[in-house]
Amino acid sequence: VTAWSLGGLVALLALAPLLPGLAAKTKALLTGRRGAPTWQLYRDLLRLWRKGAVYSTTTTWVFRLAPVAGVVTPVLATFLLPLDGRAAILRFAGDFVAFAALLALGRFLLVLAALDTGSSFEGMGASRDASFASLVEPALFLGFVVLALGTGQSTLSGMLGEGASLLSWGAGAPSLAMVAVSLFFVLLAESSRVPVDDPATHLELTMIHEVAVLDHSGPDLALLLYGGALRMAVFAALPVGVLVSRAGLAAPLALGALLAGTVLIAVVVGVVESSMARLRLSRVPQFLVAASVLASLGVILQLLS
């Protein structure tokens, strides 16, 4: 474990709340509004943290555990990412399975917390969340498969860090581009953005993630919001790791490239949000299957090369 990888961890945890703010700011500027300040989420988090909370009499300990898990699981997933472009804090063969499983645990508890309230709105959100997540999973794993084929490694450190220089952008460029786009789709779905979900929607019936956390308030809601931002940062790090070959860079430069890349991805998310509307719910599976198909094509191209 190097100082830079620990520093990267701290930086990512500290800067994560910027990402939703950046996306919102981009969207505001592109639609001709001034928009809230980029660091608005920090303010919101602080305000919510100081507030009291209202708990539904129906809820149990699951409702209180889910926000904690919503932060803990992406933090632990970050431990598996090669932040300084070399090795992650924890690395082992097949650690991408653990990466996906950790984030799945967070989602599992979040869905249970929504059902814990007994509200039909939150049940609806939970159902949609779980349904769409099940379609995202194959896309994510197929993306990892392409990277494993390209680098010959089965660790995230190898796929996105030191081994990434082995990804030949010459012959492998089409498959890598497909994976990057597929992972970007995964990011949109996993962090509840347009076109899968709309963080700015104001009608419960059209919400997915927002309605699943309807009953959380005060410090619990702060944790959920922070966990959501972390989730976005963690998933943004994947396409950045694919697109930017950081293995040749010095550790501080590699870390800087990663952070700059995630910021850029947040801006792209904002551009996507201002250029298209949320898909109709029945169309969302098609979008998610498209992500899997793209990654599968990437696998096929890798197998042929």
């Binding site: 909370a53 129906t58 699951v62 904690v68 063969a93 399975v97 159902s127 084929l149």
Partner: protein, 643 residues
């Protein structure tokens, strides 16, 4: 081997002394522990054990030892739970039910240790028939009798395939020991293609792989819960054991069979979990998840066979090891889930998901046990399901990053990922609808915590799930040793890259638990300093919520099932004022029963020849005799037959 047979004798003695509750519990537990001793010794690196009695040989090698632990550990938990649950029964032959349970355990232990065709088939048949009687415990209900009948037909069809398999394999040699079969393996025509197909049919019917799973959901849902736990956790694993044994006897199974097993695994896994999502009955849902997990086990097994065929011993060992470990893990968490479901059924009297709800408050300990089982079956850290699914992923990816056609095992990675995502949705539905929210019926309101005697076995299984999750090296090393033995490579080289990963996995799991604990403690401290109030769930302004307004299991699953269309097997009925959805068993109700009706309808045309009048039958006899004479006359006329 002595402790094994002593333990077996104790288990049988427990069956004989079922009238005394205390003697049964003591003898059964002592027997299981004693019989497990040699298995643990073998797995720890001791020499394989064997009793040579000609055709009636028994032995414990690594493979038998692993399955012996599957039988004795989760099996004992189910038996113990059943023993206590039966204590509450009135007006039923409780003693006989206990005797059957103990004898079933003994038969299972003999199945995995038999070293000859005759003892194997005898133990197999005893196991299958005893299971039938265990299933029809509540035989006054028509659906239980029907489920039992379908099971009985299916299991005997399987046994028939096995008899054909061994008869064909042994040929005219007359030596029916497994050693003799192994020696003849090379002489089988077409690389043993017929043997391999028959093995898939016979053992596949027992394991419940798609499309041979049709008997499983009914039988597992209709049986008493401890029997469902035993059947789902242990009995169907005998099919997996059989497939493994065939692989060891053949030594080098052909590649097409590996692809077939892998393909069947993916199909069983995806369809099993999809059909589980569609269920409205708690125990039927769990039964379909057994189909799914058998699929995951077969994916490991298939990858292992392909590893042998394409000369990648590491892939073979990890694939087999993953399959073995997932077999044990599934036995632990599926038994746990069925026992938890049994406790909920016992407390509320209903298994209908949409009549349950709010049980977490009424049975908090059962809820914790069920939640652990659910997280484990979904493959979430820090539990055992994650470890074995990770091993299977390793095998599939190991094949995929090699050279040659074996790279297509990558399809399995996508399949396993899809299975994981669907399983998460399904168990979120089960946990959320059954245990969370508010009760949806008066039945659910009656829910109460299970007795200590029922919670004991459940938490024994919880301990197993958590232990393997937190200290995976305990289970992965022996599983890899078994995998290496099946793949016929030295144990030391089997773990490359895998064993080193176990320490970081343990760290990750421990870190996860620690952070969740610290976070929860810190958050409760924060909440104490904030003004916290309690109120009704926010109803978006609606002030009179009722329990019926909650999301139901059907509505939770609806978006996913709609995505998969007719594959999900859901039939909907919409009228002006009502909506019903039914989950059909696509193979049994969609294929087998219509085919049977077709056969019966065709044969019905022959009905007119059966008049029941004596003179008609005499006429038939005379006609047949005349025809025979005519035939002989014609054949003789052709010069073929001489007197």
């Amino acid at each position: 081997v002595t402790p094994f047979f002593l333990g077996l004798a104790a288990i049988v003695a427990a069956g004989a002394s079922a009238a005394s509750r205390r003697a049964f519990a003591l003898l059964a537990s002592a027997g299981c522990v004693l019989a497990a001793v040699p298995a643990v010794q073998v797995l720890a690196g001791g020499p394989a054990l064997k009793v040579q009695l000609g055709a009636w040989s028994f032995g414990i090698d690594l493979l038998s030892a692993a399955f012996l632990l599957v039988v004795l550990g989760p099996g004992l938990a189910s038996a113990w739970y059943g023993h206590r649950a039966l204590g509450d029964e009135r007006d039923r032959p409780v003693g006989a039910a206990r005797t059957l349970l103990a004898l079933e355990l003994a038969a299972l232990a003999l199945v995995v240790t038999a070293r000859g065709v005759v003892p194997f088939l005898v133990a197999w048949e005893v196991m299958a028939v005893l299971a039938y009687f265990l299933v029809i415990f509540e035989h006054e209900r028509a659906e239980v009798r029907r489920a039992g009948l379908v099971y009985l037909v299916a299991t005997h069809a399987g046994t028939l395939a096995l008899i054909a398999l061994f008869a064909f394999w042994a040929g005219a040699t007359g030596d029916l020991s497994f050693d003799a079969l192994a020696a003849r393996a090379a002489a089988l025509p077409a690389g043993g293609a017929l043997v391999l197909w028959l093995a898939l049919l016979g053992f596949g019917l027992k394991a419940g792989l798609v499309p041979l799973h049709f008997w499983l959901p009914d039988a597992h849902a209709s049986a008493p819960s401890h029997v469902s736990a035993l059947m789902s956790g242990v009995v169907i694993k005998m099919g997996i054991y059989g497939l493994f044994r065939i692989v060891t006897l053949l030594a080098t199974p052909p590649a097409w069979w590996g692809w077939l097993v892998l393909g069947l695994g993916i199909v069983s896994g995806v369809l099993g979990v999809l059909w589980a999502l569609a269920q409205h009955d708690l125990k039927r849902l769990l039964a379909y998840h057994s189909v799914e997990n058998i699929g995951i086990i077969l994916m490991g097994l298939g990858a292992g066979v392909l590893g042998i065929s394409y000369r990648l011993p590491l892939v073979a060992a990890v694939g087999f090891g993953g399959a073995i470990l997932h077999t044990l893990n599934h036995a632990l968490f599926k038994s746990l889930l069925f026992l938890g479901a049994g406790a909920a059924y016992h407390a509320t009297g209903t298994r209908a998901l949409d009549r349950l709800g709010g049980l977490a408050r009424r049975m908090p300990l059962t809820w914790i046990a069920f939640l652990v089982g659910s997280a484990a079956i979904v493959g979430l850290p820090p539990l055992n399901g994650f470890v074995s699914e990770w091993l299977v992923y390793q095998a599939l990816l190991g094949g995929g990053t090699s050279a040659g056609p074996i790279r297509l095992t990558l399809i399995g990675v996508a399949g396993l990922a899809l299975i994981g995502g669907l399983a998460l949705a399904c168990f979120a539905k089960v946990c959320g609808i059954v245990f969370l929210g508010v009760p949806r019926s008066a039945d659910a309101e009656r829910g109460h915590e299970a007795s200590r005697g029922l919670l004991g076995p459940m938490f024994g299984l919880v301990a197993g799930c958590v232990l393997i999750g937190l200290v995976p090296v305990l289970a992965v090393r022996p599983a890899l040793a078994v995998g290496a033995a099946v793949a016929r490579i030295p144990v030391t080289s089997a773990g490359t890259g895998v064993v080193e990963a176990l320490t970081p996995i343990a760290l990750l799991s421990l870190g996860l638990l620690a952070l969740l604990w610290i976070g929860s403690v810190a958050m409760s401290a924060v909440r104490r300093r904030r003004p916290v109030t309690e109120a009704e769930t926010w109803g978006c302004g609606y002030a009179l919520p009722s329990a019926r307004m909650q999301y139901t299991a059907s509505s939770f699953a609806a978006p996913l099932l709609a995505t998969y269309g007719p594959l999900a097997g859901v039939r909907e009925e919409r009228t002006a004022d009502a909506f019903h959805s039914h989950a059909r068993e696509l193979v049994l109700d969609g294929v087998i029963l219509p085919a049977w009706d077709g056969v019966r309808g065709a044969l019905w045309r022959l009905r007119p020849i059966q008049h029941g009048r004596l003179w008609v039958y005499l006429l038939y006899i005379i006609a047949v005799l005349l025809l025979l004479l005519l035939y002989i006359g014609l054949a003789g006329g052709a010069g073929g037959v001489s007197p």
